[in-house]
Symmetry: C2
Subunit: 340 residues, 2 copies
């Protein structure tokens, strides 16, 4: 289904010059700026977590869209562990994807209405939480209140890949002031393809005319300018999700060689709950950033270090692999920040 | 983007002969059969509500898929009003789309964690509902408990358009036994296109090879066999969602003429919260079903009656148009059932 035809993909500059920004961009950025200012002044580390899938609308009046599989579990879970580790968290997620704290109470798998009881004997009637659910709810609730009262969690949303790219650029430029104290945790499942505004149909595509043909352009490789221009000193973690296990390491290495950032976390769609691999340039562990703009051909595979993280869900079914992922990243980020 | 090329679309028979059923089909149907049996014996009317969008996976190991815009608001809201009207409700919805009752507590717009307080003075700590939220929660909770204790709501889920079509066929065949006592409320946003299993790529489509080309086949027109074969006596309501207002009535009339069912509810994407139009064959109002198989060309536009339903959200911001939609359908279904 991927065509053989090659076509010069949009560069990041061409993308931003031709595709319209989301209407709320300025407000969103102003709010994030306040958040960054407050936590930078308090000398607190900041993490930008992106989470959930992006859509590619096929119509201006959107009825149909291409989407990427992602409930947002990785991002929402990791955000909680970053908060626990003392980070201020900017949680930039797909609208209606999972969020920290409320993720424990999915309306489909753990609906909160199920564990509320009504006590009609009191006037007015009292609503009680079933005792079996109370310990977990108390724990989630206290972390939730703490994050809200401490102002350590800032949430903003995107829907389309266009929204995502505009927001990521603007936020990374704002985060420039943090120097090495910022971590980028790019867990969102971003579409590789998009439909330029100029090619969209205005109204719902009508059926009844035979089969549907869609032709999409490549999304510009945003990590390139992110690493080498927008946020030169941030610690940048990207993700590779593959279904073909043999592609995991080569694709992760390829991304590192191309963009020169700090870590690629590789995960297989079917094993991602209990196994991930950190791929990183050997040099980053000692806090030396590779030269931006270095070409893939110049990088030797022995310059990369792979570290597998695995958990045993049979032994500990409540363990979340994000706890270990975040612990390892906090450690590496600390090295990176102190090596400045 | 819709091609000019025409291609013989799959018939429903061809579709079911070549596309695999969802793995849980038999279990799902067995549970619905029990539900139908119980409520038919109690002489209770049944409604099948379908809700939410369907996906079209592009890969066997699904990462990317085409989707239809739908949060499931119409279906979830209507299901509540059908329950209030005394119907037994089969709620067949897209996984993670809105559901009756919990829809009032979206994690994004009305998170329940926000209105819980912890009283640390008691041991063990007590969790309380903020007084401002208590009246609504008590009302929602009591309806929720009533539906669950009375066994009047049966929920099952789909994800892909393939799941949807297999389930709809199987459920409509089960509902045959209800004769005229069953209403079909087909509010799901079903894809017009699909990718036959035989054309899917096994693994994630790789980018980096230029632009993406997708070619999809037309989904068979399922209303045709639904109306004329699977459930000859059910009262069938389908929906048309358009963004081009001028297409609403012609498309609704076209569907009625083609399939010979009872009501098409037309709605404009941007006005659907406060305005819909019922389009129905004049004859249905007196309880006479049009001859199935009648061709569009044989139907005169004057044989159709249009009824607009509008609500004034400025006057009553809490009014839901689904209340009026369901009331009108309950009335029409009553006429239909008693005219047998």
């Amino acid at each position: 289904m991927a065509s053989e035809e090659t076509q010069a993909p949009f560069s990041a500059e061409q993308f931003f010059a031709t595709q319209p920004p989301p209407p709320t961009l300025d407000e969103d950025v102003a709010r994030v700026r306040q958040f960054i200012k407050r936590h930078t002044e308090a000398n607190q580390k900041i993490v930008l977590v992106t989470s959930g899938g992006t859509t590619v609308p096929l119509e201006l009046n959107v009825v149909r869209f291409l989407d990427n599989f992602s409930a947002g579990t990785r991002g929402a879970t990791s955000a909680e562990y970053f908060l626990k580790a003392g980070y201020a968290v900017i949680f930039m997620h797909r609208q209606f994807s999972l969020q920290p704290f409320s993720r424990h109470y999915s309306h489909s798998t753990h609906p909160f209405l199920d564990f509320l009881d009504v006590d009609e004997h009191e006037v007015p009637a009292r609503i009680d939480v079933k005792s079996s659910e109370r310990p977990q709810l108390l724990s989630v609730l206290s972390q939730y209140k703490q994050a809200h009262e401490g102002g350590t969690l800032h949430t903003l949303t995107f829907v389309t890949v266009n929204d995502y790219l505009w927001l990521l650029r603007a936020l990374s430029q704002e985060l420039y002031v943090c120097g090495r104290n910022v971590l980028f945790y790019l867990a969102a499942a971003v579409s590789d393809f998009f439909l330029p505004r100029q090619k969209m149909s205005e109204h719902k595509i009508q059926s009844g005319k035979g089969s549907l043909h869609i032709e999409m352009d490549q999304v510009p490789k945003i990590l390139k300018p992110l690493v080498s221009e927008w946020t030169r000193e941030g610690f940048i973690v990207s993700f590779k999700l593959e279904t073909d296990h043999n592609l995991l390491i080569p694709k992760a290495r390829g991304a590192l060689a191309r963009y020169g950032h700090q870590v690629v976390i590789g995960n297989n769609l079917h094993r991602r709950k209990f196994e991930v691999v950190f791929v990183a340039p050997a040099a980053v562990n000692s806090g030396t950033r590779p030269t931006p703009g270095q070409e893939p051909s110049e990088v030797d595979p022995k310059d990369f270090v792979e570290t597998w993280l695995r958990i045993d869900l049979a032994k500990d079914p409540h363990k979340e692999i994000e706890e270990d992922i975040v612990a390892e990243l906090v450690r590496r980020h600390q090295l990176w920040a102190s090596a400045a």
